[in-house]
């Protein structure tokens, strides 16, 4: 009975992390799961709260003692969020549009550019490959936040201030993505590529048809990471945009929450906006999570 179970499950969950190590839970595991469950709830508490806060009507936001859970859920905070900016020149929807556009295009470009770079790094021994990889490893520790001033100088001298280019291009140079992809591609057997080349496949076809499908987990992982970073980034809005209509949603959020610590106004709207910021990232993670898990199982077989 017990031996038959994993086989049955494999069909139900083809994208599983790893082969089950234990058919039944051991006592220690139950205890562990129990305590980790409470720790997990503790970690999630602020998120649980923001869900509820965003749905609270005005009367419930400031009651004493504070109550985490909402009693009469309402969407009024979301409408307030968009009403707040109705009279100003730039509506909140514009910021949201900017953010969505930038996040999609920037994430796509990072993934494509990184994959293109990772492939020869991993599979071709071209002159300078090792040096380039060393450079990438060193620049893993690059912290864009420290280089704001020269980046500002560079972008302004490129003449792309106040354009979408200035939002997207600075994100494209992502050593972390190249590094992750290269490490994943190292696991693709060389024989596979050589066989394809003998069959007459060109370099680009090999990359697109063989390497990329195998490396989908790496693609998914880098996509998650980059989307997460870009979606929440205010750096490009603060540094490279002077035109308000070109700024992004998180930047708008920051202006909305300025002095939120001292005042009680607009807490509901801010919570709603926080939810708008958080949900897409959570959604993207949930969508890609299975892919990540599938690839990780893949890399574990080797």
């Amino acid at each position: 009975m017990a031996a038959a179970e994993p086989v049955k499950e494999q069909k139900k969950w083809p994208l599983r992390w790893k082969k089950p190590q234990f058919v039944r839970w051991e006592r220690a595991q139950i205890w562990l799961a129990f305590w980790l469950f409470f720790l997990g709830i503790f970690m999630l508490l602020p998120l649980i709260y923001i869900f509820n806060h965003a749905l609270k009507p005005y009367s419930e936001l400031f009651i004493f003692p504070p109550n985490i859970f909402v009693i009469n859920p309402t969407l009024s905070n979301f409408s307030e969020l968009f009403v707040v900016t109705r009279d100003s020149l730039v509506p909140a929807s514009r910021y949201l549009f900017n953010s969505v556009t930038i996040a999609i295009f920037a994430t796509a470009s990072v993934v494509i550019v990184s994959a293109l770079c990772a492939y020869p790094l991993s599979k071709h021994k071209f002159p300078g490959a090792n040096a380039l990889f060393m450079v990438i490893i060193v620049s893993l520790m690059f912290v864009p936040e420290t280089m704001q001033i020269p980046r500002y100088v560079v972008v302004s001298s490129l003449g792309i201030m106040n354009t979408y280019w200035a939002h997207i291009l600075p994100h494209v140079a992502a050593p972390v993505s190249v590094f992750l992809m290269k490490q994943f591609m190292d696991q693709v057997p060389n024989e596979l590529l050589e066989a394809a080349k003998i069959d007459g496949a060109r370099e680009f076809t090999v990359f697109l048809r063989i390497v990329m499908p195998i490396c989908m987990p790496a693609v998914a992982t880098t996509a998650i990471l980059q989307f997460q970073g870009i979606w929440g980034s205010i750096e490009t809005s603060v540094l490279f945009m002077t035109d308000d209509a070109m700024k992004t949603f998180p930047y708008f959020l920051q202006t909305l929450t300025q002095n939120l610590a001292n005042s009680v106004a607009r807490q509901g709207a801010a919570a709603a906006a926080g939810l708008v910021m958080f949900l897409p990232v959570l959604f993207v993670f949930l969508v890609f999570q299975r892919k990540v898990i599938a690839t990780m199982a893949h890399s574990g077989i080797k």
Binding site: W17, K18, Q21, A28, Q29, L32, A33, L36, L39, G40, I41, M43, P46, L47, Y49, I63, F64, P65, P66, I112, V113, L116, C117, P120, H124, F126, L140, M141, V143, T146, M147, Q148, I149, P150, Y152, L169, V172, A173, P175, V176, T221, G229, L239, L253, T257, L260, A261, N262, V264, Q267, A270, G274, M277, F278, V281, L282, F285, Q289, I293, G300
Partner: protein, 322 residues
């Protein structure tokens, strides 16, 4: 003379005339497609990482206000920074070191322990645990401060205050993000909360990929406890992931700059208590427009980050030869 002989002779002849450089060029030409593949990244990398770093080093020796051409002033920026800039010496530097030392290694160790614990849970349930611990890191930046502001709100409506008051731990509401003695603690707590990010996932993957046979072999060789197993098998085997996670932890610890400003809603933070080096760079570069000086601060920060990385490389790089 056959055609083949003739061909090899001409190749040899051309090699002699071209010499070493010619050989190199030939080799490069052979791989031209590879270079085409890496070109987009290389261009972006040069423009947005390499040039800024070099520009920062160059500008740090100049007086530059963003409008006039930079004027060379030698080491003056560094001399002022390291001798007379009281905000840097009293607040930004000590704060950054304190913040990074707690958030970096602290978050790193917590990530490892949690990753290891989660790896022990059977896999169907594991997914949900991963999500629970990874989710906070998804709420980065502004969203994070919005989530925490009402939690740490200074009046009795603030959740933390209300909770502690209810337990009689404190007598009156504390100003978690506005009091100069408390803001640093709040910043550290919030950042730690969201530090189970990419490094955590990398370590989890590393732990899960440790070969079961290796552990069984270790048991036969006399490994008695799970702790020994972690120390002698798991960590050495997953050293690459450990190093990667360490680098990510360092980056995370030093890039945090806005968290204090966002939590307190004040720039600079109350009495500079939450002022980090990144804030100092912004202060001089974007508010006072002393970009030369701001660049000098950036370079100092870069050097600190570099040495922090060297340390983690020593910890997890050398043991790899064992």
């Amino acid at each position: 003379m056959s055609a083949i002989d003739y061909k090899t002779q001409t190749i040899k002849g051309s090699l002699r005339t071209k010499g070493r450089f010619g050989l190199f060029i030939q080799e490069v030409w052979k791989y031209r497609l590879s270079y085409l593949f890496i070109a987009p990244f290389l261009i972006a990398f040069s423009i947005f990482i390499l040039v800024p770093v070099l520009a920062a080093i160059g500008l740090s020796f100049t007086f530059f206000n963003g409008m006039e051409t930079p004027r060379w002033i030698g080491w003056a920026n560094y001399e002022y920074l390291l001798s007379s800039d009281s905000i840097f010496l009293q607040y930004a530097l000590p704060n950054t070191i304190k913040f990074a030392v707690i958030v970096g290694p602290g978050g790193y160790i917590a990530s490892f322990i949690l990753a290891w614990l989660i790896a022990q849970i059977p896999d169907k349930a594991r997914l949900w645990y991963v999500l629970a611990f990874y989710a906070p890191s998804l709420a980065g930046g502004v969203a994070m401060s919005i989530i925490w502001i009402p939690m740490l709100s200074g009046d009795r409506i603030g959740y933390l205050n209300s909770f502690l008051l209810g337990l009689n731990f404190i007598d009156e509401p504390k100003l978690w993000v506005l009091d100069k003695d408390l803001i640093m603690g709040s910043m550290i707590a919030v950042t730690l909360w969201s530090s189970m990010g990419i490094g955590f996932l990398a370590m989890l993957a590393g732990i899960l990929n440790v070969d079961k046979q290796l552990i069984e072999a270790g048991r036969l060789d006399g490994i008695r406890s799970r702790l020994q197993e972690v120390w002698h098998i798991t960590i050495p085997v997953m050293k690459p992931q450990m190093l990667f996670a360490a680098v990510m932890a360092i980056v995370g610890a030093f890039k945090a700059g806005n968290i204090g400003v966002q939590l307190s809603g004040q720039n600079p933070t109350p009495q500079y208590a939450g002022n980090l080096l990144v804030n100092h760079v912004e202060d001089y570069g974007l508010i006072r427009f002393e970009m030369g000086y701001a660049s000098a601060v950036s370079v100092v920060l870069l050097i600190i980050i570099f040495f922090a990385n060297r340390l983690s490389w020593k910890l997890f790089g050398t043991k790899g030869d064992e």
